[in-house]
Symmetry: C2
Subunit: 498 residues, 2 copies
């Protein structure tokens, strides 16, 4: 193993002849070394960190055939700006409209048929006058349908919450990315400013103090040039400085829309729940007017359910198209919005072994310049301080500035590395494509169950209602009424007992 | 602004006199510069990234008084290894046992009273024989209670899923942290190995080729010593190498336990749901034997609900104690399990402006050594290659190794920075203290609603059952039976019409 004791190095001064090349070497290779581009992160990444993988649902929904209004097939690549793709999604949504039309048609025909049968003159014993499916059966099937609807509403609440969770994760990731990007900017500004002020004040003082010895002044000037080079290199690393896109504003926009989406669904779910519960109450109390009002409300909510189903289906298909390969779309969109170098965007969005760090060269050059400044300051301290005691103070201040700059440099290396921002990207994708997708599917299931339940209820409500007692202001079937099933039962029991 | 053109630096060779101090300077300061500890991340962090904040529920539950079995107050700091604290949590769980006892007592007394009233001889018309709360009212209140129970079951499914999500996030964060830690290890091993092989082969070849000129050989030896120093410094950065704790194994353990917890809850929820639905079916069909079986099952599920409520209450209080200030406990536990330097643990778990980077010094020294090796290689290339053309090949190979090492070094700086691992820690905490906590509260609500619903159902079931028709093998009340309420109603209607 390579583990010589530290003391071995304290006596090494044999390399004096070549260290002088460092400053030239830094500026003489503006084009990257061929080895950089191939080996920057080749063996080091150790496989990408556990990230986002599209789920089975994404793959399944991505297979849904896409056609435009002329029924010509459309590529299922996510492209919301293209008219053909928009038409494909609208067609998916229109399927729900078709479902609503068929549903209403079937419902109308069924009710018409029931109505015709109801209007036949009542003759003979009750076995004949009742519809073939007895009133009790009708009521219980209606109750079962409404309970199914309530279960669907539970799923809807869950789905709405999951969707919201996913979008929150997206917003949170955007905020985190914004924090990283603004930290890079701030770190670069602070470091550049600090270096600049050190160059302006301490190095100038130093040069004035050491004016009698020109070779020392020349060394200080060398350090000044290196510091200026570092400041310039670092300044170029703040790649997000003049970008017009602010992740925080995107996050705010997303949260704003999501808030209203969430609220709209909560209202729809509550409306649905109220209709189910009041219909159940109407059936329990055998209150005609309540059941009639709820029949009308059910019709309204049925239309809303089919409408929301259309929106959800289109959103789920669109989201699955996006999630099946999100990178190209996000890359193109970000490139168009930010005007950033594609190399930088690829580095952050892909962050794998193939893409090399676009900042590697600037970082290495800065690092070498910083090391060179350090060695020059150490030399000045050794050579100049015995002769010019006044040089000690600016030299110490410069060393401290250098130490801070090196600390900041390491932070900057960490912040610029793709790992952090790519993790935010992965978390945003997971939020959108796992949580929100799952939530959307649950909302779809809710809409489907709700539509089924309401359609069944609408079929059976008029039949159940026809079996209600004739009196309209009939409120409490439990009390003293011979038509009340309980009371009539007791009456029959009492009759048979006497 | 400091933006001189690059060409300015290409002619700088005035600093030759001082660059020679670099190698000495590196090894002569083994103790960190005072400026390091204070300014390493002082101004650069720009505020901590958006992280974990304990929620209101955590604060509220943390306020629950903690006492041991002797009812002496216990500190509410999370300390699961302390007997007093364990006793405090057991007492919280025991409250649910008390609740169960009271519930069973009240239930027994109520049923006893109902039973006594039932056994009174039936005299007079049915208005007198029925209990004051009519059978219908009893049935409907039982149905309402069961529906409330079903709503609670929905909440339970949601809570179970949320808890599971939170624990998944914890596992995911642990896997991510493991990836980072193993990447550091692998990166260090690879880099050290690559440097070692370069020192053994290329540098030895170089020294042999340049043997005639001793000052060049001395320069190569200088580079060799620097490379060995870098290898040693980097080797010391792989801080997780001999640590006995594997985050991946912790994640596996957590997932294993969570899988069984999830399954147990699903089974409990399904059992609860089945009991509710079959009881409703029994009421609908007026099937005596079904209602009797379900009464017994309800009693069993009632006990299970109170039991789970106790577990959840204790878990929620314990989790809130943990989440109100997780850092000290996690720090102590990790220190005990890993035996790592507290400075390193503080750096990763706190990651704020106060804690300086414990690797800063080693990183800076490595960086300077790398820059120094680079300048020495450049010097050798310029001085030796014209004289010894055979030196060019090993020199190029060495430069490539150096470039790869610098790339790896920047990756290592990024991986070692607290930002990545601290983000994993924050995500794990958010998973546990937000999602799992929320899920646990929903589960608690489920247990409470379930217990209430079942207690109500148990109170009303015998009363409802007493109102069922006498025949025990009574299966289908809809068909041809005069005791069927629907049929009896129709019969009465028919009687009144003729």
């Amino acid at each position: 193993m390579l583990s010589p004791p530290c003391s071995v190095f304290s006596s090494s001064s044999s390399s004096s002849a070549f260290s002088a090349f460092s400053s030239r070497a830094i500026s003489s290779s503006p084009q990257p070394h061929p080895a950089w581009s191939s080996s920057g992160g080749q063996e080091a990444m150790g496989g990408p960190p556990p990230g986002f993988r599209p789920s089975g649902w994404v793959h399944l929904l991505h297979q849904v055939p896409h056609t435009n209004f002329q029924l010509r097939p459309v590529a299922s690549t996510f492209a919301p700006q293209e008219q053909d793709y928009q038409q494909a999604l609208l067609l998916v949504a229109a399927l729900a409209g078709l479902g609503l039309a068929v549903n209403l048609l079937v419902l109308g025909l069924y009710l018409l048929r029931s109505c015709c049968r109801c209007r036949r003159p009542k003759t003979g014993p009750p076995e004949v006058s009742g519809s073939p499916d007895g009133g009790g059966c009708v009521t219980w099937s209606c109750v079962a349908a409404l309970l199914l609807g309530c279960a669907g509403i539970g799923l809807g609440f869950y789905g709405n919450s999951e969707t919201s969770d996913g979008v929150s994760q997206l917003s949170f990731s955007l905020l985190h990315a914004n924090h990283t990007l603004s930290s890079i900017d701030r770190l670069v500004s602070e470091t550049v400013e600090r270096l600049g002020s050190a160059v302006r004040s301490e190095l100038t003082t130093l040069e004035e103090v050491m004016a009698p010895r020109t070779e020392l002044v020349a060394a200080a000037r060398g350090a000044r040039r290196q510091a200026e080079a570092v400041a310039q290199q670092l300044g170029e690393l703040a790649f997000w400085r003049d970008v017009p896109l602010s992740p925080i504003r995107v996050a705010e926009g997303v949260s704003f829309v999501e808030e209203y989406r969430w609220l709209a669904y909560i209202l729809l779910l509550l409306l649905d729940l109220l209709v189910c519960l009041f219909t159940l109450l109407g059936l329990a109390k055998q209150s005609k007017w309540l059941v009639i009002v709820m029949t009308v409300m059910s019709l309204l909510v049925l239309v809303l359910s089919w409408g929301s189903m259309g929106l959800e289906a289109a959103a789920a298909v669109g989201l699955s198209d996006f999630c099946s390969s999100p990178d190209p779309y996000v890359l193109n969109l970000t490139r168009a919005e930010t005007g950033l170098n594609p190399e930088i965007l690829h580095y952050y969005f892909l962050c794998n072994q193939v893409v090399s760090n676009p900042f590697q060269e600037k970082l290495t050059l800065s690092q070498r310049s910083l090391a060179s400044i350090y060695s020059q300051l150490q030399g000045l301290e050794r050579e100049a301080v015995p002769q010019f005691p006044a040089a000690q103070k600016p030299l110490l201040a410069l060393e401290e500035t250098l130490n801070v700059t090196e600390g900041n440099f390491h932070q900057l290396v960490a912040l610029l590395h793709c790992r952090g921002l790519h993790k935010d990207y992965g978390a945003a994708l997971r939020g959108l494509c796992e949580d929100s997708m799952e939530g959307l599917l649950f909302l779809l299931l809710f809409s489907l169950l709700s539509a089924l339940a309401l359609a069944t209820a609408l079929c059976s409500l008029p039949a159940a209602w026809a079996h209600f007692p004739a009196s309209d202001d009939y409120e409490d079937p439990e009390d003293d009424d011979p038509f009340n099933p309980q009371e009539s039962k007791r009456f029959v029991q009492w009759q048979s007992s006497i």
